[in-house]
Amino acid sequence: MSATNLLQIADLQVRMGEQTILNGISLHVPVGGIVTVLGSNGVGKTTLMRAISGVYRATAGSIRFEDSEISQWPSHRIVAAGLAQAPEGRQIFSSMSVAENLRIGAVGLSPEALAEELEKQLDRFPILRERYQQSAGTLSGGEQQMLCIARALMSRPKLLLMDEPSLGLAPKVVRMIFDLISHIRIEGHSVLLVEQNARAALRVADYAYVMDGGRIVIEGVSAELANDARVRAAYLGGHAA
């Protein structure tokens, strides 16, 4: 494998009972890269993300993160190794305060590092500072998404997985989240992004994979994929620029 790859997935398979959800996925995320996985509903994108985070077990294939094979690790070990996820559906702790949600995210940080990281996230998302003592369930959808991302960043991950961060949000918030994705790369986090909003995802990512039926069907540099006839027809609404 290349030394500059942070995440390297080879021939990953996930089966549940009789069903094969992922059927031989291979992809990689370079250090400092933003990579996106596109595809419509039900092609296995979320399963892929869950398998990487150890929520589901890979039935075959390998997932290498830095120098370790993590495909059989429990999820808490994966997070501790520097791979955090802002999952689909946000999965925030609705009965706990914003402050507590953020503190829980800070896996393995010293108290000083935690306080520092907390400040950083609250500066990044000022609305969370306003809602700091409120219970997370009272936040709006956009605010919950910000909390979810901030919570994942609290552990200072090398790689951040984001599963449909723009789902169901107002256009203004969506724009903000995509701006954020470009920005956190500058801070040294690599990103693996799963999105249905293909246009925005291709704009922010360097490299893209398209999934269908549990496989990667197309891959390439984002700019090229944005001009690929098949991608345009299937995911970018035909002729739109």
Binding site: M16, G17, S53, G54, V55, Y56, R57, P74, S75, H76, I78, V79, A80, A84, Q85, P87, Q91, I92, F93, S94, S95, M96, E100, R103, I104, G105, V107, R151, A152, S155
Partner: protein
């Protein structure tokens, strides 16, 4: 307007209520985290009492050592209980198994089985007779405050309960373990994503809940002086009722309802014959289920 006897009963009821509260917390914590009822909780209570009694009859140490021994044995019992009765039924992690009722009900039966085995073992080893606490340790020294008289055991119950409830509150709000317990109770999937070690959190929950349960058993043993294998049954039922009344996974709700229950029982016996006291819990349970299906304090299912 209140006669002394009535006030006296109120105070007695409060001390009984605190005992129920200590036990109800164990139920509530475990229900919150695993969504299952731990039927062996009454036996942890019994084990706490026996641990205290054994340490008294063998070593006769100072009272606080007796308490520490009982708490430690309770914690150990909680750990063992989780490993034997609950862990083996968490082998499957796919969504179908997690949602399946059979998987949850399996632990209902396994914990019931452990409860029966432990109770029978205690009977086999110590006999089914009541064990008596030596006079020196029996906390029945009367303490007169104005016209009211208390037993020293009641002070121990109030003191220990308040310390343990306060400690629990601190633990759940301020420590990483406590935050993890609340996170797993609130959203197990989210807890996995943020890197909480769910297995360790579940063990911690059992250890904490069982420590509180053992503490309750010990102080009742010292106060009422009656220690026998089936002693956990009745308070177990009462604590269960308090948990249901409180809304299943609300600790605050369970504590308040446990105290209401204790006081109500005690006040009932001042108007009716002793035997009617036990009826109160069941009446409360039925009323709660009919009129407040989500509990008196249960807005949501996810509050710990």
């Amino acid at each position: 307007m209140f006669d002394i006897f009535f006030v006296q009963q109120l105070v007695n009821g409060l001390s009984v209520g605190f005992i129920y509260a200590l036990m109800a917390i164990g139920f509530t914590l475990i229900f919150g985290v695993l969504n299952v009822v731990n039927f062996a909780h009454g036996e942890v209570y019994m084990i706490g009492a026996y641990a205290g009694w054994l340490s008294i009859t063998i070593f006769a140490p100072p009272l606080f050592v007796v308490i520490l021994v009982a708490l430690a044995i309770g914690a150990l019992a909680g750990f063992g209980l989780e490993r034997i009765a609950f862990k083996p039924f968490r082998r499957f992690r796919d969504e179908a198994s997690l949602k399946s009722k059979a998987m949850r009900e399996a632990t209902l039966l396994s914990s019931l089985a452990i409860s029966i085995i432990v109770r029978e073992l205690a009977e086999k080893i110590f006999g089914s007779n009541m064990q008596t606490i030596p006079q020196d340790y029996l906390l029945l020294t009367p303490i007169q405050i104005g016209p009211l008289s208390f037993a020293s055991g009641q002070f121990l119950i109030f003191g220990l309960s308040i310390v343990m409830l306060g400690g629990l509150q601190w633990l759940l709000k301020r420590t990483q373990v406590g935050l993890s317990i609340r996170a797993v109770a609130n959203n197990p999937m989210g807890a996995t994503y943020v890197g909480i070690n769910t297995e360790r959190t579940i063990i911690a929950t059992f250890v904490i809940g069982s420590t509180l349960g053992a503490a309750a058993g010990l102080v009742v043993g010292l106060y009422q002086g009656a220690i026998f294998p089936a002693m956990g049954f009745a308070p177990g039922i009462k604590a269960f009722v308090a948990m249901v009344m409180g809304g299943l996974s609300s600790i605050g709700g369970a504590v308040v309802c446990a105290i209401i229950l204790g006081v109500a029982e005690s006040v009932t016996t001042s108007f009716f014959a002793q035997g009617w006291g036990d009826l109160v819990a069941y009446v409360f349970l039925v009323m709660t289920l009919i009129f407040f299906p989500t509990g008196l304090f249960g807005g949501g299912r996810d509050r710990v």
